[in-house]
Amino acid sequence: MDFLVKFASAFMGVFQLGGEQFMGWVTGIIPTILMLLVMMNAVIALIGDERIEVIAKVCTSNPLLRYAVLPWLSAFMLGNPMALSMGKFMPEFYKPSYYAAASYHCHTNSGIFPHINPSEILIYLGIAQGVTALGLDATPLALRYMLVGFIANFISGWVTDFTTAFVEKQQGVRLSRELHTKA
């Protein structure tokens, strides 16, 4: 009997611990995220998608704009996954590189702008919550995540130019470097 009681209380204890963790996240994370999401959703709806398309066309010309500025802006404005669609303004050869950069931008900015990728936010929030639990401010973490991301994502995008050229040779195809305007 004693064993059963111990077992039962241990069993319940597991779920109580889980519940406490959940409560911590719900009260600690959800309210702020929700307010940010409301604001960001509204700002984006008011600015509109069309304006970012205009910028996108300008940004295809050089690597820095292509793999750092444009993906950052697209991630901020369009979020995951629609930020990836801005690659359509690139020549075929650069699309994989844009994808490589933009998909990372949908993660590294999520510390400060959670609206970009709310369904995968727990990577950041999980770790940030641990930092907060120690009584530290998570803002430096979020800021560094974004800034390091800006550099690292650019590198990841640019390196993809070279891997694309490599795979092209491997597969014996050549992708267009020129942008052909579609009707």
Partner: protein, 347 residues
């Protein structure tokens, strides 16, 4: 036409949506699968055999959307599961995932079915097959003549509120215009709030509950001490995180680890809990963020390139190229994070 047969697909255990009746046509004659990093799903042979559709591996190549009769995915509940329903392409998810992810509002019973196994797939009975064939034919003609649908605007549209229709027709008086203008801003914020709450309910809360339970088990069973014994060397030191980042981004493995960023999110939750418990130093937080996510979006390459309207050969090259570049740059990213962690939360 007769070579394509209609099948009936029902939801599997724990699944959502359906039953769907899938009928190929001369034009819509392909089934695309974007599963497990390019591994054909178990249900594919049966579907191909029954329907006569041509299978297309979405990881290797792609097909024009208007040729797709069906898409098979294995999404864990984030993007892909909503993407094709949004485009109104019938979608089978072999994972039992319901309305979830940022595109949850497009996941409806008439276009999406999940948790599907071989047992849920059968030939449709003739009556249903005929209906599906008709529907397939009408969607084709409807796509050809979108102008007709536009013309319906004239009368009172029952699908819209009167205020919205006034805004569209544009001949309201001054007062109505001001009212509508203010109303639009309020409505925009209101919709933004509605979307935000939906996101919280559909994606944030479920994931938090899931990971919380895992953490409860890990901490409550004494398993935690054992478990962090294993993870500590990986999550708790710079070389460990570097190794983790490189392993996660190995081409091929990276695509399997990707879906829904589930693994990254679990590891993030665990690492946070370990930091909170004082077992891992907070100065490793930034390095962790980069290491846990080196393989980000490797499962999503064909779809992402599809969104960028890439041509078929670009997708073929791009899948390999991005996986290689992820592998090549993973250690660079982690080391950059190490450098930029200097001075953060220094003990």
């Amino acid at each position: 036409m007769s070579e394509y047969r209609a099948i009936r697909v029902e939801k599997g255990s724990g699944g959502f949506g359906g039953p769907l009746t899938i009928q190929g046509t001369e034009k819509k004659n392909k089934v695309m699968y974007i599963t497990g990093g390019g591994v054909a799903p178990e249900i594919l042979p049966k579907i191909v055999e029954l329907t006569g559709l041509e299978p297309v591996n979405g990881f290797k190549t792609s097909a024009p959307e208007d040729e797709l009769a069906l898409v098979i995915i294995d999404c864990g509940g984030t993007l892909r599961c909503g993407l094709y329903p949004k485009k109104r392409i019938p979608t089978i998810n072999i994972n039992p995932v319901g309305k979830a992810g940022p595109l949850a509002q497009f996941i409806k019973e008439d276009i999406y079915v999940s948790g599907v196994t071989n047992a849920n797939i059968s030939l449709a009975d003739p009556a249903e097959a005929a209906a599906a064939a008709d529907a397939a034919a009408t969607t084709e003609t409807a796509a050809d003549a979108p102008a007709e649908a536009e013309e319906k605007k004239g009368g009172i549209d029952t699908s819209k509120k009167l205020s919205e229709q006034m805004a569209e027709s544009g001949n309201g008086n001054m007062l109505a215009k001001i009212g509508l203008g203010a109303g639009k801003v309020v409505a925009t914020f209101n919709q933004a709030a509605r979307d935000a709450v939906q996101t919280a309910i559909n994606t944030l809360l479920p994931f938090m509950a899931f990971v919380s339970m895992l953490i409860g088990i890990i901490n409550g069973t004494g398993f935690g001490t054992f478990f962090s014994g294993i993870l500590q060397p990986l999550l708790g030191s710079i070389p460990g995180l570097l190794v983790l980042g490189i392993i996660c981004s190995i081409p091929g493995l990276s695509a399997i680890l990707g879906p829904g960023a589930v693994i990254s999110q679990i590891l993030g939750g665990i690492m946070g809990a370990e930091i909170a418990a004082g077992r891992i130093s907070p100065s490793l937080a930034l390095v962790g963020l980069f290491a846990l996510n080196c393989h980000a979006a490797c499962d999503f390459i064909p779809v992402g390139l599809g969104l960028a309207e890439a041509e078929t050969e670009t997708v073929e090259v791009g899948v390999m190229s991005v996986m290689y570049s992820r592998f090549i740059t993973s250690w660079v990213r982690v080391l950059l994070a190490v450098v930029f962690s200097i001075g953060m939360y220094a003990a």
